[in-house]
Every structure is written in structure tokens, then in C-alpha cells.
């Protein structure tokens, strides 16, 4: 399974769907626990083992989850775990020191279910582009399917009960991954982020909580989960996202009218380095790819598609690179291999 995945990008990053020039992906996460069992942070190995068993049989019975793979934490190496994190299928903490956890992945990687993360069940649904409603509906169908076999912890006042009080109620986190290269270049990004925060949303870097901004990629999600319906939370994120896209597009237009040569130069230089460099670090690749992605979106670079850039964002990360090469590499060798992967991918293009 891992070998097949190493050669292609996740299907939720194919640059298809609405607003794909700016929005990379939409994501919905639902947190659920099974009634009568201690939550994972405090559960003993036996309870954790039982939970994996229950959820696995519920997945087996589900029509929505008929095909796909279930990976147990016992069978996952540290390198494979890093690979799953890079693919955004699991959180950085998942399967780290605790055993008796598991992961379901659908064949198209649009659904991933973590068992025994912070909650017993974490349903994740992902789509390319801005497609929050479809992504929500898919997550809801899976939730219904699992609820046919599992009795979830629920309180009529508090809603769905979760280990962390910040997830109680709907257990829903709706988020989008967005490329705001224009707003960063025009230096308007600070005021836009300020505006987003005031609307009760959270902005993070590419890898979630506490991460730096690499490649001008931002994750935007809802902060609160209780007191509003799933539809309400998701619709409001979609509405605000459309507003941010408008800001981003305006800044891109302005760059084109006011500084066309400078922007084109920046984009072509980035492309030149990617096309010919012999050593590239992950951070440098992310930042150069950001410029090339902008170039593709603005039709300044017509030989590179946004889908290719998205693919390189995932495949150039350390664990993917090593799986792609089939050997473990030192950080220095990785930078050389990364430069080769990027050169080869860009050279393959017509």
C-alpha cells in the first residue's frame, strides 16, 4: 500500500474542484467516543485493544467503507508513520508512543479514520478544492454508518462527548488549506489574518497547530464546536473562505497590473532554480513551489500545472522521498535526491 502511495499525490490534492487555483483542499473531522469506555488518553491497553476491535468491525459492516485498508499501529514503522503524517492522513501525535491504535484509509484517500487518537474515533473526510459541503455530507454518512454499529457517547445538553472540552458538541473541525501567495507579496496578509481571527476562525501553517508558514500555505478552521449546527459552522467557513479568495485574487490582479515584470521575474527565477538545482532543502522547495504555483495560476508559467505543484509539495517531503528512492537517506543525501525528483518531474512535462 505504501509503495503505491509514494508515487502519486493524494487524490484530494489533484487541483480539481471549485477555486483550486487558491484552495488546495477542504477537510472535515468528526470526533466520537464509544459509550462506557475510558477515553484513549487514560485507557489501559486492554480497553484500547477492545476499541480497535469494535471500530474495525463497525467499519467492516459499513457500506460507505466497503473497500479500503486498515493498518494497525503494531505494523507501522516510524518511517511509515512519518509518511502518513506528510500525507495529512494522521496527526503528528498519532501512533507515536501508544500502541493499540489503528487507521482506516479509503482507496482514494478521501476518507481516513483514526482509532484511539485523542478520541476513540476520528472521522476525516477530504476533497480537492473548495468543497466543504460535499466533504461534510460524506463525513456525516460515515458517522451514520458507524452509529449503526457503535453507541456513541452523547449528552442531550452537551452533544457528542470528547476527551478535550474544545471539541465537545458537534466534534466538528472544518478546515481548508489555502495558498495566499498574493497577499503575502503585497504584505496584506497580516491584516487579513487579523480579520479572520476576529471572525472566530483559527489560522495555522501547513502541518497544523504551532507550525510555521511554509510555501505561503495556510490552514483555516473553526475554533468552537458547541452551540452551532454542523451546517452552520461549515457554511460560515465556506462564506469567509470565499471572501479571502476574493482578497487573494484582488492582490494577484494588482501584482499583475502594478509589478508584472517583477512578479514574472520572481516566478521564472523560482522555476529556473527548481528546474536546474542540484541540492534543495524542504523549506526551499516549498517556498519556490509557492512562486511556481502562483505562476501557474496567473498563467505566467504555462508549462507547469497546479496539480504538478501540489504533487511535488507532497512527494518532496523527507519520508516520501525516501520511500520513492527505496532507501533511507541522510539529510544531505535527501536534499540531493529532492533536487533530482523535482528536476525529473518538471522535465517530464510536455
Amino acid at each position: 500500500m505504501f509503495d503505491q502511495m509514494a508515487h502519486k499525490a493524494s487524490s484530494w490534492l489533484t487541483a480539481e474542484g471549485d477555486e483550486a487555483a487558491v484552495v488546495l483542499s477542504s477537510r472535515i473531522r468528526l470526533a466520537r467516543n464509544i459509550r462506557g469506555f475510558t477515553f484513549p488518553p487514560y485507557a489501559d491497553p486492554e480497553t484500547r485493544g477492545n476499541i480497535v476491535h469494535f471500530v474495525r468491525s463497525a467499519i467492516d459492516k459499513s457500506k460507505e467503507l466497503e473497500t479500503g485498508a486498515f493498518v494497525s499501529s503494531d505494523d507501522v514503522t516510524e518511517m511509515q508513520r512519518a509518511f502518513l503524517i506528510e500525507r495529512h492522513l494522521i496527526s503528528p501525535e498519532f501512533m507515536r508512543d501508544q500502541n493499540a491504535s489503528g487507521l482506516y484509509i479509503s482507496p482514494d484517500e478521501k476518507i481516513a479514520i483514526m482509532v484511539n487518537e485523542e478520541d476513540h474515533v476520528r472521522i476525516q473526510s477530504m476533497s480537492s478544492g473548495l468543497s466543504l459541503m460535499d466533504t461534510l455530507n460524506r463525513a456525516m454518512r460515515i458517522d451514520d454508518d458507524l452509529a449503526n454499529s457503535l453507541e456513541f457517547d452523547y449528552d442531550t445538553d452537551f452533544g457528542f462527548l470528547t476527551s478535550c472540552p474544545t471539541n465537545v458538541g458537534t466534534g466538528l473541525r472544518a478546515s481548508i488549506l489555502i495558498h495566499l501567495a498574493g497577499l503575502v507579496l503585497t504584505k496584506e496578509i497580516d491584516s487579513v489574518i487579523d480579520h479572520i481571527n476576529k471572525l472566530g476562525l483559527v489560522v495555522r501553517g501547513f502541518y497544523g497547530e504551532g507550525t510555521d508558514v511554509w510555501g505561503n500555505l495556510f490552514q483555516i478552521s473553526n475554533q468552537t464546536t458547541l452551540g452551532r449546527s454542523e451546517l452552520d459552522i461549515t457554511e460560515s467557513l465556506e462564506k469567509i473562505t470565499r471572501q479571502i479568495i476574493e482578497f487573494e485574487n484582488k492582490s494577484r490582479d494588482r501584482l499583475l497590473t502594478e509589478a508584472r515584470d517583477e512578479i514574472a521575474d520572481k516566478i521564472w527565477r523560482a522555476y529556473g532554480i527548481l528546474r536546474h538545482a542540484r541540492v534543495l532543502t524542504s523549506e526551499e522547495v516549498m517556498n519556490l513551489l509557492s512562486a511556481v504555483r502562483l505562476g501557474a495560476a496567473l498563467k505566467i508559467l504555462d508549462m507547469v500545472s497546479i496539480a504538478t505543484v501540489n504533487k511535488l509539495l507532497i512527494l518532496s517531503q523527507p519520508a516520501h522521498l525516501q520511500r520513492y528512492m527505496g532507501v533511507e537517506l541522510s539529510p544531505g543525501d535527501r536534499d540531493i535526491a529532492r533536487a533530482k525528483l523535482v528536476r525529473d518531474t518538471l522535465a517530464e512535462l510536455p
Partner: protein, 172 residues
Amino acid sequence: MLCEECRKQEATVHFSQMVNNQRVVMNLCGTCAKRRGFSNPLKNIPFPLSDFLTSMVSESATKVDGQLTELTCPVCKLSYDTFAKTGRLGCGNCFEAYRQPLADLLRKIHGSNLHRGKRLRGGALVMEPLKEEARLKDELKKAIEAEDFERAAQLRDMVKELQEKLQAVTDV
């Protein structure tokens, strides 16, 4: 470390850049960094809620004159004290054991402590109203047969109200 530009203030911004394949790091103070146009767009944003959580939990515990810290969930045996330290609850029953302090805490976090989203399907949530609906319909039929139309109208309204409630329970 002092700012490399003004050499007066403490350097707080460490800006790194790739120049001719060499990593160049500049250590600047906030003022000089801003003047040169370097800034981290995420630096001023509030920390995620979970970082504030443990302090919020302890706060809601001390407010109730210390008695809370001695509370323990009878099912998973998690003490409120431990919850205040870790910010993670132990099991579904903790919500029963700490209902009042949690209701306060959830209101602080979410601005509300009443769920308005998807309801749990099946079980008592649906069964009880369904049984009530069957009973009312039965009574309505009898009222019509007895030509007690005033009572029938009343019952019809009750059925309608119950069905609306049921709809809300089963709707997403």
C-alpha cells in the same frame, strides 16, 4: 543576542534566507525587522484554545471554593484535579460527575453550553417520543369516534408538535 542592525535592542526576529545556496541568517530586533519588511504573519495570532485550556479548567475549579478539586468521576476514577492538569476528560461519565463546572467551562470556551447540532439517532432519544406519538394517535382516533372534536383538535396539535420535535431529533 543584540540586533545586527541597530546593535541596541535584543534580537527577536531570526530571518533565514537562501542566497546562492548558502543559508544566511539575520538576527534583528522587532523594530528593525519591521522596517526591513520581515514579519511572520502568524506571530500575532492568539494561541490555539487548547493552550489556554488547563488554566481555564483550574480557574473554574478554584471558583467553587476548592471542593471541586476533591471530586472524582465514579466510573473512570479521574479526579477533577488531574483533569485541571491535563485538560483531558476521562470518560463520558465525567460529564455527569462534573456537570456544573463543565457547563461553565464549555460556555467560556464556546460561548454556549447547549448543543444545537446533529442528534444521536436511535435509542431512548427516538423511542420515547415515538411511543408517545403512538399513544396520542390512538387517543385521537378514539376522540374522533366519540365525536369529541374539541379534544380531537387538541390532540392533533399535540401530535403535530411531537412530530416536529422528532424531526429535530432525527435531522442532521
